[in-house]
């Protein structure tokens, strides 16, 4: 009996001392949908391998993520670490709610292992505020079967002139009822990546450059006009659709060309579509400029005492092993450059996305008001043109004027 009591006491003491050492790290992010399983996979494995740290993760849709995060931060709470779109970094850094983590790159993860543009994206002003979570880039998806039907061969268009030429050929009314049932090049606006920036880059245009507004300069206007004319007159894309509807069109074989991220890949594959992924067509200067996005992990300023645990997790997330696991399962390119391509031999598209990401750029640089600019300036500008409320020049002039108040 005494023995039992003795052992129980020892066990109790042990468990207390163990739990006292365990750092609990709350982690919020918005990886709902098919990616969730693999985010959970990495976190569970991390928890198994680290007895002294427990990452408690909460996943929620991105819109509710902000509705939960903002009140929590208002009372000085909130998660210890969070994953969020990299476009939010500057805004959260300016507000002083996230910690800068320059020492993470000194002590845990050498920046040389990251694609330079990705490391650059984690910076704001002269400090680094985040560790990479995912690297997203847009591929040019094209439906090979529809290409063959239209006699266009196996290869994607080389430049933007050819893209629009193909788009017209691939837009069809197959049933003859006067209604388009196959679209050449679909271009959603809301709930979608910033594909308008790819279109503008595709003509060597810019939206913003070195603090100057260039969205209403000739190159940008010209290419936006070409796109919207083709949508209105040649009906190469329905408007105004959102990203989910765009995916549905491509997945049902009713769209021939489409920009989208790696996340769309499994869905199209499951739908049995015969398609290819390539980099964006070249602009007149012979460059293919692609869209980059992705998410970053940040540390709450109130959680600096858990910094070490957080860094260990950031490091683990970006380890070769985790990145290979996440890439293979989700199709996202890895956040590291030092993983041999052979690792992905059974899933070649990951290497394609990695190559594309080397030729990619973030839209709107790092404007703190990114989301507001997109929803209040850019989207309305495109819609005004599509609904004939204004010409391309007028609409983009107005957008430039509205942009002024964000750029100071």
């Amino acid at each position: 009996m005494k023995k039992i009591i003795f052992f129980t006491l020892i066990l109790l003491l042990l468990s207390i001392s163990v739990s006292a050492q365990t750092v609990e790290l709350t982690f919020w992010n918005g990886f709902t949908g098919p990616d969730r399983e693999y985010v959970e996979g990495i976190v569970n494995k991390f928890n198994e391998e680290h007895q002294d740290i427990e990452v408690k993760m909460e996943i929620m849709p991105w819109d509710s993520f902000f509705q939960k995060l903002l009140p929590s931060l208002a009372v000085g709470q909130g998660p210890d670490i969070a994953g969020m779109g990299r476009e939010h970094l500057s805004r959260f850094a300016d507000a002083g709610v996230i910690a800068h983590i320059d020492d993470f790159y000194n002590d845990y993860l050498a920046k040389e292992n990251l694609p330079p543009s990705l490391y650059e994206a984690m910076r704001w002003e002269d400090k680094v505020y985040a560790a990479p979570m995912t690297l997203a880039t847009a591929g040019f998806y094209y439906n090979k079967e529809l290409f063959a039907e239209a006699g266009l061969g196996e290869e994607p268009p080389e430049n933007w002139d050819q893209l629009f030429e193909y788009a017209r050929k691939l837009t069809k009314d197959t049933t003859g009822d006067g209604k388009i049932d196959q679209y050449g090049f679909i271009f959603p606006i809301k709930g979608y990546l910033e594909a308008w920036s790819i279109v503008i880059w595709g003509n060597n245009g810019r939206v913003l450059e070195d603090g100057e507004i260039k969205i209403n300069e000739a190159k940008a206007v010209e290419t936006i006009k070409r796109l919207t004319d083709a949508m209105k007159e040649d009906k190469i894309s329905p408007f105004v659709i959102n990203g989910v509807e765009g995916d549905q069109l491509f997945a049902s074989g009713k769209a021939a060309m489409y920009f989208n991220g790696p996340w769309a890949y499994p869905q199209f594959e499951n739908a049995g579509i015969d398609f290819g992924v390539a980099a964006a067509p070249e602009n007149p200067a012979g460059e293919s400029v692609n869209w980059a996005g992705g998410t970053a992990m940040v540390l709450n300023k109130n959680s600096l005492d858990k910094k070490e645990a957080a860094y260990k997790f950031f490091e683990y997330w970006n380890s070769k092993e985790s990145q290979i696991y996440f890439s293979i399962n989700t199709g996202s390119p890895p956040t590291r450059t030092d993983i041999p391509e052979a690792e992905f031999s059974q899933k070649a598209v990951i290497n394609t996305f990695s190559e594309i990401s080397e030729k990619s750029r973030f839209p709107l640089n790092k404007e703190p008001e990114f989301s507001t600019i997109i929803s209040d300036v850019i989207h309305p500008a495109l819609e005004r043109i599509l609904y004939d409320e204004a010409t391309a020049q007028e609409s983009l002039d107005q957008a430039a004027e509205e942009l002024e108040k964000f750029i100071e």
Partner: protein, 297 residues
């Protein structure tokens, strides 16, 4: 005599005290969890309040001045009225008709009642996803069925002129079952003897409806109308999921705009200001309706 009056007075006083006691629990909850936050956000409407920063600076009436010059605010106000004028009358009339019909002694009325109530109990987030999918003119089920019988389906949600009617239709579809049940409960509490009396006087079915049912349904109708107006002026979920306020802001309602100001732009001070404009509107409209129905009672 004196004593009797005293007893009566003390009894009346006791009833009054009882009334406060009956209201107290609800009122406590409201004051703490709703009215206090309302006052808080009212104060914040005089501040330049970015939710991310811990400090907010007092800017007096600036937010209110901005609002008056904000074309998006006026557009949202207009859209909110548009929604309300479509949704309230049509929705209530359909609910009343359904309630009258399923209140008759017909076969299968319980099945009909259950079917009409289904949309009410389904979460709007999922319903809106399903409708958006069904209404999709390219791959949606409805457009496919239409094409089979040679009809063309309209791109409802992509047309600035048709998006709001589509949102109104889905909202009516979603809500009609609830008001139907409220009406049904009201109809159930009308004593059959009134109808007997009317029949003896030779009233037709239609006359019975206008001279018996409607007057006796007055307090129910008051509730339904006032609540539906309040609900309609705060429409958000269906707009948020189905159109996100677009295309070209044609479905952006006040609450959609408030949400956007607060949680996308992080400008909660101004968001509160717009919320107060909505509040004043609702208060005004509700008091007028209460007066009207009281006069009628």
């Amino acid at each position: 005599m004196q004593l009797l009056k005293k007893i009566k007075n003390s009894y009346k006083l006791r009833r009054k005290l009882m009334a406060y006691l009956f209201i107290l629990p609800s009122l406590t909850i409201f004051i703490l969890f709703i009215l206090y936050p309302i006052v808080y956000s009212f104060i914040m409407s005089f501040y330049d309040w970015n939710i991310l920063s811990t400090e907010a600076s007092y800017i007096g009436l600036d937010n209110y001045n901005n609002m008056l010059n904000d074309s998006r605010f006026w557009n949202a106000l207009k859209n909110t009225f548009y929604f309300s004028f479509g949704f309230v009358p049509i929705g209530i009339i359909i609910s009343l008709i359904l309630a009258l019909f399923v209140n008759r002694k017909i076969k299968g009325k319980n099945i009909f009642r259950t079917i009409y109530f289904l949309p009410v109990i389904a979460p709007m987030s999922i319903i809106a996803i399903i409708w958006t999918f069904l209404l999709n003119p390219d791959i949606g089920m409805i457009s496919y069925y239409f094409s089979l019988i040679g009809l063309e389906n309209t791109a409802w949600l992509r047309d600035p002129d048709l998006a709001m009617p589509a949102v109104i239709m889905v909202s009516i579809w979603k809500e009609m079952g609830f008001n139907m049940v409220v009406f049904l409960a009201g109809l159930q509490s009308i004593d059959e003897s009134y109808y007997e009396a009317a029949r003896i006087d030779g009233a037709t079915k239609l006359e019975q409806f206008f001279y018996v049912t409607l007057p006796l349904l007055k307090s129910t109708t008051a509730f339904v109308v006032i609540m539906t107006v309040i609900k309609s002026l705060q429409v958000f979920d269906q707009v948020y999921v189905m159109t996100g306020g677009g295309p070209l802001f044609s479905t952006e309602t006040l609450v959609q705009y408030i949400y956007k100001l607060g949680f996308v732009n992080f400008n909660m001070g101004y968001g509160s200001t717009v919320a107060y404009a909505l509040f004043i509107l609702l208060l005004f409209v509700t008091i007028i309706q209460l007066r009207y129905f009281k006069g009628e009672e």
